[in-house]
Symmetry: C2
Subunit: 365 residues, 2 copies
Amino acid sequence: MSSVIKVDIPEKSYEISVAPGSLDQLGEQMASLKLGKKVLLVSNPMIFKHYGERAIASLQNAGFEVVSYNLPPGERYKTLNSIQKIYDIALENRLERSSTMVALGGGVVGDMTGFAAATWLRGINVVQIPTSLLAMVDSAIGGKTGVNHPHGKNLIGAFHQPSLVLIDPEVLKTLPAREFRAGMAEVIKYGVIWDAELFTQLEASKHLDQLRYLKSDLINYILTHSCQGKAEVVSKDEKESGLRAILNYGHTIGHAVESLTNYRLLKHGEAVGIGMVAAGEIAVKLGLWQKADAERQNALIKKSGLPTQLPADLDIETIIDALQLDKKVKSGKVRFVLPTQIGEVKVTDEVPTDTIRQVLQEMAS
Amino acid sequence: MSSVIKVDIPEKSYEISVAPGSLDQLGEQMASLKLGKKVLLVSNPMIFKHYGERAIASLQNAGFEVVSYNLPPGERYKTLNSIQKIYDIALENRLERSSTMVALGGGVVGDMTGFAAATWLRGINVVQIPTSLLAMVDSAIGGKTGVNHPHGKNLIGAFHQPSLVLIDPEVLKTLPAREFRAGMAEVIKYGVIWDAELFTQLEASKHLDQLRYLKSDLINYILTHSCQGKAEVVSKDEKESGLRAILNYGHTIGHAVESLTNYRLLKHGEAVGIGMVAAGEIAVKLGLWQKADAERQNALIKKSGLPTQLPADLDIETIIDALQLDKKVKSGKVRFVLPTQIGEVKVTDEVPTDTIRQVLQEMAS
């Protein structure tokens, strides 16, 4: 099974291809887009060890000149300093406006390569080859790129649409189990905010916590539906002025918790899972969502092996204060995405601080 | 005399206002655009001393909350490090997506503030108040933003359209004479590439080298026509895929000369003047342009007090090699903008290196 999802944006349309084994078609697919000859492949040492040579061979067979660079792994190197290194290599190899940076890796590699491509020569092509579940269903799609500021995640960035997103589900085989589970949080998110059918499919699967327990048909279904969901939302609202905000479901409290634990204790998806539990409970308390549906959501999160309680020793008032720092704050008001039924959410900045506090207290471990 | 020029771009339309004394209407004009309350005014110490208080007073009277920051002056601080400082202040003051950075200054302040605004929270509003002639007629319009890489000018950047460009010709009174002359190079450029009537008006003026010798009507005419020229070109081609390339007239060799003298010996406009002389001579040698027209162009450049010869001790082969590093290089071929008549140019990458060499030899001082 393979599928192609079209992302339609006024500025630039592109395709997301989901197909097992497609890593070996990278060069061919890029050649059909008429991109310039020079390619800078950006990865990290671990991913490169597994897939670098195959990607390069495919590119070279299609006539591209390839140089590669491995970023040091991990969120703590997601800084402007690391971007400087990419610039240096782009300069050394005389990348031109028609050249392409190819991001082969998870969310960190994708965000950073995307930002470097967005800002080198005021924007060159970027192709995303996400290798983590999280990157496949979320960060590689939609054109958000960026790095962290010492005091906040993704505060520095740009919108820069890729020329192609190539998803090869087979590369998930080398993804650590914890990373797989973290990615599942975003999959569940699409079920809650957009795609009730995806939600039901997830409920029907006995396991969600390890790739090897999932049928390959289900994996392809999950990838295709998640990408489709994100593509539809992004196509309707590229720059996050309206609809796109729903993708931040679980991210308001998720980001705060992630940031307050210095991005070390929790994976992003784990924090989002906690944030979805919190947002769901807030919605129930405000009378927007049925308690039974919140429980169905929380059951999926648990089935994926994800935490549903706040990390120990995290002060609740500190979390509430941190919410103010979020990019999504508007005129000082914290914005929440809250479910109204499975497959549907609304955006509101009218959540009383007391309700947030109460829910967080109930979630303390 | 005051005029409003509309820049129409699919993504975002905005106005360029040219009106003496309009600095005091900044707050009012921004309020009419429904921008968020928070403003970060970025300037440099010298400009801020002259105009900072007036700008801030106007903003505060219109209800904005203003913080200000002065960049260290000069092209050598046009680096990612300086941008980091702007980010820090944006974070400290909790700028939001609806907030605005206001650039009060010349090209360096405008480019850097624009880039910081383009990349903070993936893009917030920017208002440009250019205070140099060069910035008024060129860099403040069209959305190009950026900083320098240690090995090349403006290699790092983004396209980010302003919400408003406010041009108050009265602020030119405090512009150093050499800066004024450098700006005149870009004015002459519009005459050559786009606006034969502007060219004729420049010929009709006895002086072009000092503001005080120019009638204020002529200044307003020059500003309006130059902005109009740039706005028309940019509206037709926002991201420099085609037509916009003509704005690089004089910049191919100009950039190389500027870079090889480490951005210290020559002002950008002076380098562009030299580049226009060179491009004109190349066009004549290739039979594209009449020698008489090239001489008319060179006469305007001289009347503006601008150099028309290469700086001493600059090796010609080094210049030719440096052309390869230009952002405008495509598939290894150097792209030139060459005049065909006053008010019209063509873009070509078919200039024999020998012709370039010959022209540069004739221009050696």
